[in-house]
């Protein structure tokens, strides 16, 4: 019997990127409202597949990250009464999520320009939410029935990599490893995201680049609906190759050849000692040989 599982979904909600995604010049245009419908169907499927399943949804808006919905929160009062056409649990979820998104979009209306998407903030919030962070205190023995095994995070990304967020993303990955959280990534629009590929690879999740974007729901149900425990039996698609390059610390460029200060390598090593990593992630990486290391002088 399959156990209940927790799913945290991070939505990349950059209006500009979604605008680009919806343009008919794309081979398979996908607009935000069509995306949202398919996503809601997927979320409902997750809730329906097991009564005890829990769900949390985070939104990465331009310059801001918000928790859109959590199944552990009390139901808001203003949810419209159930109608004959919908299952009330689904309706609560769908309504809460869409309303929160609309509120945030309203708040955006005053901005003159779009700041970069707060994906890292959303990821960090997802890691800190109770269903996941409870694993930190008792990673092995889960006595609390509210804490479900095998938590996972699904990132639905449309924005390109932000090289400035390399270090925070890496740190999030390490925390996720420590918490034994699986990070799945679905690249809905835009070029392949190097950092998210690494995130999925390092946490044992799968990274899917959407080829037929009009069949989003098909991808979601096939690849991401099954909890990690089930995926050992149920083969799910994964990425073939992963880009392992790092971003340099000085200009935040993604580099092929990195340089590492031989002195502070040791100290940084101690800093990150708790998490199991390999070489590139332990150290300050420069794109050019520098005479004085900025980390240790």
């Amino acid at each position: 019997m399959e156990k209940a599982s927790h799913l945290s979904v991070i939505l990349d909600l950059s209006p500009t990127q979604w605008h680009l995604s919806a343009q008919s010049s794309n081979q398979y245009p996908l607009s935000i409202h069509s995306f949202l419908s398919q996503l809601l169907a997927f979320l409902n499927a997750h809730i329906a597949s097991k009564h005890e399943n829990t769900l949390a949804v985070f939104g990465a808006f331009p310059g801001k990250s918000v928790m859109l919905y959590s199944s552990t929160d009390p139901v808001a009062d203003d949810v419209p009464p159930a109608d004959a056409n919908s299952y009330s649990s689904f309706k609560v979820v769908d309504f809460t999520i869409v309303r929160s998104i609309m509120n945030e979009f309203d708040a955006l209306g005053n901005l003159d320009e779009e700041p970069p998407c707060a994906l890292v903030g959303a990821l960090t919030k997802a890691l800190c939410c109770k269903s996941i962070s409870a694993h930190f205190h008792s990673p092995n023995a889960v006595e609390d029935p509210a804490v479900l095994p095998d938590p996972r995070i699904l990132i639905l990304s449309v924005s390109p990599d932000l090289s400035t967020s390399y270090i925070p993303i890496m740190n999030s990955i390490f925390s996720a490893q420590k918490l034994k959280v699986t990070i799945d990534v679905c690249k809905v629009y835009g070029p392949d995201a190097v950092f998210l590929q690494q995130a999925a690879h390092l946490t044992g999740g799968s990274y899917i680049f959407l080829e037929r974007r009009d069949a989003l729901l098909q991808y979601l149900t096939m690849s991401f609906l099954s909890p990690p425990a089930l995926r050992q039996v149920l083969a799910v698609p994964k990425q073939d190759k992963i880009d392992f390059r790092a971003a340099c610390f000085c200009h935040k460029n993604i580099v092929d050849v990195g340089f590492v200060c031989s002195v502070c390598l040791s100290s940084n090593h101690i800093l990150f000692y708790v998490v199991k990593l390999w070489f590139t992630y332990m150290c300050t990486v420069f794109c050019q040989p520098v005479p004085v290391c900025s980390t240790c002088r």
Partner: protein, 608 residues
Amino acid sequence: MPTNVCTAKASYKKAPGTLELTDTHLQWSQDGKKVPSVRVPYHEATSLFCSKEGAAQVRLKLGLVNDDNGHNFTFTAPQAVAYSERETFKRELTNIISRNRSTADSNANPAAAPPPIVAALSASPSKAPTPRPAVAVASASRASTSRAPSVSSDRRTPILPGTDAASDFRLRKKVLMGNPELASLHRELVMSGQITEAEFWEGREHLLLAESATESQRKGRPGQLVDPRPQTVEGGEIKIVITPQLVHDIFEEFPVVAKAYNDNVPNKLSEADFWKRYFQSKLFNAHRASIRSSAAQHVVKEDPIFDKYLEKDDDELEPRRARDEVADLFINLGATLEDHGETGNQRDITMQPGRQRGALPLIRKFNEHSERLLNSALGDKPPAKRRRVGGGDGGNDAYGQLDLDDLHDPETSVGIILEMQDRQRYFEGQMASAAAVEDARKKAFDVRPIFKEARDSLVSWEYNLNQLKLERKPGDAALLSMTQNVASRLDVKSKKNEMPPDLFIQLTTCQTAANEFLRQFWSAIYPPSTETQTIAPATPAQKATKAAKMAGYLGKTHEKVDALVRTAQVEGVDSIRVQVAMKPILDAVDHALAFYHTRSAKPTKGIN
């Protein structure tokens, strides 16, 4: 023409010939040939072994400086003649070897005991077969082999690579022997003349340094107690094999035996008699390293000579040899005796060593042995340095001893702060790049309508959700592509690697060679690392030539891979698999070549 000291008919590696000892060399020439095929200079001889007297063949083995296997000669003359011939050779060679030793020892390591010629002597209680010193028994020397390695003298100081060509070569050879993969790479590249020896080792100096460091390590004294084990032969006889090493050890361990030896040999006793009597004496039994000896006590005879040297059993309350050091203040129970006058505690009389009195001498013997071992490990440093804490001098040290690590609060550790210099630059860099992206984006779109559009498209979400309908075609396409993804992975998992071994080896060689070229290339491009010791940093011009040369080699990698692909086709292997296997290295090569071409296009802007 060197004069002959002695000659004899002897065979070497089963070929008959003549063994000669000239005044500079020991040489052997095969019958019918004029030039000697074995020529050993005197100074290379280090050890000598002879076959047992009475053995079917009369053999002589000579160990060399860098070659423990040495040379084996068999004297082919009739036995009686062969013996006398061998004795002659042995006498001469023994002298030569001892001369070599003394010079070597005075050169390098006066502390190391001279490794004596392994010799054996049979001492049996009933019949003693004319024992002589330095009669070597090559076979029955188990006792000696266990201790012989201890005397490995280290006359080599650590050699830095490049200082001495011969030793450098030897080191390289050793490194290669210990690392078969490196050796095959070396064979592949250096022996075929593609890169030079020096280039190959550049950047690998650490291997040589590590090897020379390992070599120069000295083995300490073995901790074994000197305890000659008698071997029982038929008829209740006991046989003890004596080697000079054993004699040396006995003298060192029991000075009283050395004293007895000096007093009695050779005036009162011959050397053989001395040892024979010693092993039957009470003195020997007192020196045995276990209580087992009591079982053998009935065979011990009275011996007027050795009994003189008998010491009283060391089983009194206080050891016979008092420790000369000042006891540690915190261990010395007597240190605070004066503080407890009439009112104080009673004297602790339970703390007496050895519950069983008979065990006391043994315990003390062990202690003395251990002490001697430790002292030998410390070498001849002044005794003041030996004590970690100088006990007697002043209160500071006493307080230092009181200040235990465990008493400190572990919570006060400050952790390690990641201090970045230029933090400003770090954040500015972030902002600058973000600003650049923003600018580009602002130019491209007006964001306000986009925000509004996003907001508005969500209003009718409920209707949209109700109308959600997946088209069959894209769904099927997605399903198909994902199934293919899973299937291909399953395929890889279930399929075995059926590359023919020959081809596989070729692939590996090509790969390692290209890797080596890449390594050379990049090391020529980038500044040398400061960590490793380089002999002489290459000049920019040298580096440029090297980079050019390596780039030339790298350019040929594609041809090589193509050739391999063709070979694969001939062998009936899927050539695509070969291509896939070689793809990463080709990518790396292409990358290096592209880098090289852009760099050489604008030579003014070098990294150096």
